[in-house]
Assembly symmetry: C2
Amino acid sequence: MHWRAIIRLFGLLLMLYSLSFLPSLAVALVYQDGQWSVFLESLAATLSAGLLLWLPNSHRESELSVRDGFLIVALFWALLGVFGALPFILGLHLSLTDAVFESISGFTTTGATVIAGLDRLPPSILYHRQQIQWLGGMGVIVLAVAVLPLLGVGGMQLYRAEASGVAKHEKPTPRIGETARVLWSLYFGLTAACALAFWLAGMTLFDAVGHAFATVATGGFSTHDASLGHYDSPLIEAIAIVFMLAGAVNFAIHFVAWRDLDVRAYLNDPETRVFGLTILGGSLFIAASLYWAQAYADVGSSLRHGTFQVVSIMTSTGFGTATFGDWPLHIPLVLVILSFTGGCGGSTAGGLKVLRVMLLVKLGVRQLFQFAHPRAVLEVKIGRRVIKEDVLLSVWGFYVLYIATCLLLTVAMMAAGLDLESAFGAVFTTVNLCGPGLGEVAVTFATVDPVVKWLGVFGMLAGRLEIFTLLILFMPAFWRQ
Amino acid sequence: MHWRAIIRLFGLLLMLYSLSFLPSLAVALVYQDGQWSVFLESLAATLSAGLLLWLPNSHRESELSVRDGFLIVALFWALLGVFGALPFILGLHLSLTDAVFESISGFTTTGATVIAGLDRLPPSILYHRQQIQWLGGMGVIVLAVAVLPLLGVGGMQLYRAEASGVAKHEKPTPRIGETARVLWSLYFGLTAACALAFWLAGMTLFDAVGHAFATVATGGFSTHDASLGHYDSPLIEAIAIVFMLAGAVNFAIHFVAWRDLDVRAYLNDPETRVFGLTILGGSLFIAASLYWAQAYADVGSSLRHGTFQVVSIMTSTGFGTATFGDWPLHIPLVLVILSFTGGCGGSTAGGLKVLRVMLLVKLGVRQLFQFAHPRAVLEVKIGRRVIKEDVLLSVWGFYVLYIATCLLLTVAMMAAGLDLESAFGAVFTTVNLCGPGLGEVAVTFATVDPVVKWLGVFGMLAGRLEIFTLLILFMPAFWRQ
Ligand SMILES: [K+]
Ligand SMILES: [K+]
């Protein structure tokens, strides 16, 4: 480990991050909500911490190894989670547990909350909360498009071609800096378009920007307790659907579509295609179930609520417009399965990712065929590309660790006092970065034991870091030279 | 397909099976419970059906292909299930649905029931019910030791060495007949020893034989509604533990231990070793949880109930001595995970099987190591044997299909009206061949919708036939020439 170089980097990062309190400070001053000192103190504390880390190590710049990279990625979310919690402690007087939970939930773009009474919160705190999600989204598209494919986390090496296509001039060493700049331009453009659309559809400018932050990042935080249900507007829901989907598609594909000004980029990508068809099929199935069970009187309402819920859960955004309470019992289960499937790789979405689920299904079918025709040589293909066996095994390893993490977290949460449904709900919603759970945590994590909240923090970090990147830090082999 | 040869074989099989009604007939006559005509009619009907199938095809004997083998194995359980249901229809006037459910539950050694008031049932019907499980166990050890390893179902090819070791003189063509004879001698010996032990421990001879049938077959049917809890005897529970474990160990290993009169055969087998350690660890964990939650006042009771429950669920037997109602909430979940793990391959137990779970875990860990050391060449090993990648992929395919089957069945059962907990309970207990479920089906399937019962029948057959062998029949590719 190049410890001092890592510490130097985090010093720089914290100093940079401290600037992100400035917009919140501006909001506090404009809305005169009395919170300006909170953000000034947070800024000062973060800047000082950054300087303290940086100064003694300012000359220790050095080449970082892959192992350093793992540590940096994992600490990045944990560290920003802690400093992003400052305004919740200083402004809302939340406990350390609650403040860190809320902040990590933001940075990982999960959107689970411990705060009730959002409508009465100071605007600057609300803004800070939305902005955390947006910054978390910025972090993750670079992680997912440029870093994970190189590390080859659980099949992510399949995205290498897409990743190297983003930086204009392909070079042996991937240029993460240039890739990041291109991705962030796209991300910024999508956010601006989303905010504009929300604003034109009738939101206040404040709400439009805040919800755009949470939509494109597939985060799901809202400035209202009733989430998007607050507006009861089909138009706003339709806009949210478009931009949630945009946030859950591989940003490298966005880049190609934008560069060539050609939407066929989406249709040509097997993962995006299957993602779209699953959203379509899932929406029709849920809408039909709702209509059949007479949860809604007309076809239109069934389609509206069915589609919104499917998109919101499968993209791992977690905006709500309706409660599941009156819905037929098998619907929540289908939504949970879609949540595990998740969005596309290289996006801000959580879950296993569509491509991995495609490989799972294709391998299951292949083994069945192989079994019927023992001598046939059958390949697993994605589009026209043949997937090698080591990649398949890599995806399998990912899958095993994902399931094992979920099972152990569920047992631990039950031991900490949750019932089965709530524990499972808390686990699927944190690990898949979704937001709303089931049972006791259907709406908020406010009432659960602190142990459950810390387990949730672990779940969110594990989900955001694609399990491997977090678990590897707990392996002695990683720390040995 | 050699249809007429297959039909001829089933004719012979049914004629043979019709003889199994004779012991029940004898019980009816000895206990004078008025059911003798039921068994005479069942015998006559089964014998006639067998003759009807056999006579027109008696000269159509021919070499059977592997494809024929799949059909025979799948139809074997379905067909015996239907004819084994006759006494339930004729004697207890159950509906066709209920009778077939009960019979398939017996033949697959699941042990889920739709009958309440067992203590008041005619002895001959009770005997028939226990005997079904024993016969199902006979069928499955031959299937699991001699047939599945040759077909290579989801990693079962790993058992080929053990399988060929059972028949004394190794030959290129495996001699299923000789293997079956050896296995059945062992099975018969274990059953006799179990019955004797139960009898000496205080059961009536009738109960001792009946429970021995259900114990060695890891079936779990009982002649009392309170199951083994009826006796409230630590000695009887200890005997049941020993023989449930025996039923859940690979019979090829039993054979080696018996041939060499050396218990090290068990310790030398990696799967049996891990199985034993999991049982030990699971029992201690559950006992500690029970004591910690003060579900039982003393350490002894906690250990007694914890161990029995772990053995009963993990061996997929499903005998009960206590209800989970007062137990801490995470215990049922741990038991469900153990139930999915299941017993060893080549045994009468259900579940994924210990060896497959070992491969799942080892691959997960290997991928994590590989990730920390990208250039290392790491092998997955069971004992000293290196597992090839095609076997790993075959196990993965199995796992995917297993999970997919469980998820789809759960959704279907919820659509048929069960709540989430009950649907999940009904699925895990049927597919894993366990017996008792959760929620509405915690004790009996009597009250659920007929659709749920038929879904349960499908689940039990899928579990018994290791998914592949059943699903392959639904593939067009299988039926094409
Ligand atoms: K989310
Ligand atoms: K059983």
